[in-house]
Symmetry: C2
Subunit: 283 residues, 2 copies
Amino acid sequence: MSLVYLNGQWQRPEEAAVSVFDRGFLFADGIYEVVPFYQGYPLEFEAHFARLENSLQAINIPNPHTQTEWLSICQTLAEGIANANAIIYIQVTRGAEYPRQHLPSNSLTPTVMATASAWTPPETTAPPVRVELMDDIRWLRCDIKSISLLGNILLKQQAAQCGAFEPILQRAGRITEGASCNYFMVKNGVLFTPPKDNLILPGITRDWVLSLAHQCGIPVEEQAFSVDDLMQADECFLTSSTREVQPVGFIGETAIANAKLGPITEQLAQAFRMSRPQGPALA
Amino acid sequence: MSLVYLNGQWQRPEEAAVSVFDRGFLFADGIYEVVPFYQGYPLEFEAHFARLENSLQAINIPNPHTQTEWLSICQTLAEGIANANAIIYIQVTRGAEYPRQHLPSNSLTPTVMATASAWTPPETTAPPVRVELMDDIRWLRCDIKSISLLGNILLKQQAAQCGAFEPILQRAGRITEGASCNYFMVKNGVLFTPPKDNLILPGITRDWVLSLAHQCGIPVEEQAFSVDDLMQADECFLTSSTREVQPVGFIGETAIANAKLGPITEQLAQAFRMSRPQGPALA
C-alpha cells in the first residue's frame, strides 16, 4: 500500500496534510530529492544523501535525519510498491510559523515528507523525443534542488503546449539543462555535457552516465556548449532518475542524428540498464 | 478572532491544513497578494485585484473568485482584527494532485487561502534604516507575485546576517528592488524608481507613491539607475504595503543624505499618511 511519511508518522496519501503556514507552502522554503529504487535497491543512495545535505546546507536548514534513517524511510516506502520498483520523493521544508513573515525564526522544526510512486524502469531504450529550445528564466542557484520550482513548471507547460517532451534551456546562448533533466550531446565521438555550476542541477543520473562513459572508453568533456554546437551535434540525449538515458531526435524542428537512435546514446542506455543496482545501498 | 479562509471554509490558524500533494507545497505553483486594511478600508483594492488577475493569468490558473467575492473575504478577515488595521494575505495555488508530477493536469481545482494579521500603520516616518547591496539571483519573472520565493528568503536572511533591514538588489549593475519592497532615490530634486518590467514586482505602494509625487509636483523618472547613481543619491527610500515609505540611511557602509531623513522622503511619507483610505473600496 502506498504511504506517506510525514514528520515521523505514516499516513495515507489522502490524509497527509501540512499547515497552511508551513514555509514550504508560503515561501517554497525547502528542498527535495528523488531516489529511484530497483526491486528494493536504490541507485547511488550515498550520492542522493550527499546532495540532500548540500541543498539543506545551502538554505540553512539542519538535516533532520541521518543517512541510515533516511534510507530506512525510503526502503519502507519502496516496499509498499509492487516489486519495489519505486520512485521515492523526499521533501524537507523549514517548518511552519504563524503569522507569516519573510525572515524565518531560528527555532523552527523542519517539516519532513516522503512518498513513493510506482515506476517501471525502461526495458529497452525509448524512442527519440522532440525537445523545445527555450530561454532559461530560472534563478541563479539551480544547483540547489529546491521546491521553488514555478519557473520549471511554466517552462514544462510551454514545452508541452508545443508538443515537446521537455524544454531544453539556454542562457545567453549556452545550453544549461531541462526543467527536470540534464542534457548531453555527442560530437565526433566525444560526449559533452555542461559543467556543474550554479546554472544546473548536479544530476545523480548525469554523474552515473559520465562514469559509464569512462568505463566504456568514450571521451568525455564537461564543458559549456552553445545552441549552435548543439544544432550540429551527432547525437543528443537527456538523463533523469525516471528516464535514465532518453534519446533526443528533434530540437524544435531540427532533426538530430536524422531523428534516429545514435550508437553512443544506445551504448550508454544499455550500459545503464546493465549497471542497475542489485544489492544493498550501504555496506 | 483571527481566522483563516481555506477553500470556502473558515478555520482557526492552528487547524488550517492543505494536502502534502498541493502543488503550492510541492512546486511553489501559485501566487499571492498582500492588501493593507486601514480601519476596515483597503488601500487600492482594485489595483490589488488587477495584479492578482495578472499573476494568475501569467501562470494559467483561473481566478477562483470575482472582485466582489475577494473583497468580502478580505473584509471578513480584517474585521477579525482589532480596529480592523490588518494585513490581508491571499494565496492561490493550482491545487492538489496525486501522485506528484511536474506537468499539471488540466482539471485541478485551485486551492484558495487567505488570512489576516494585526498591524499598526506607522504614525510618524520611521528612522532611516541600513540596507545591504546584494546580487539579484532571482528568476526573470519577478513581475509575477509568485510564492516561488526561496531566492527572496535567502537574500533576506543574508541581509539580516549583515545587520541590514533589507537587501537592495542589483542585476548587471542596475538596481532592481528588495526582497519584499521597491526602491526609490532622489537626485537633484527628481524622484527615480526602476521601470516596471520583468525584473521587479509592480508594487501597489510604489504606484501610490508615484501618484502622490505627481500631486506634490515632484518630478518623476521611472527609469533604470545604476549602483553608482544610487551611491551618489541625495535621498533613498523603500516602499511596501506594511512600511509605506521607509527612509534608507545607509547602503552597506555608505551614508545616504548623511543618514538623515531627507525632505522629499519626508514629504512623501507625510502625503502617504494623509492619503490613507477612509471609505469603502468599491463604488
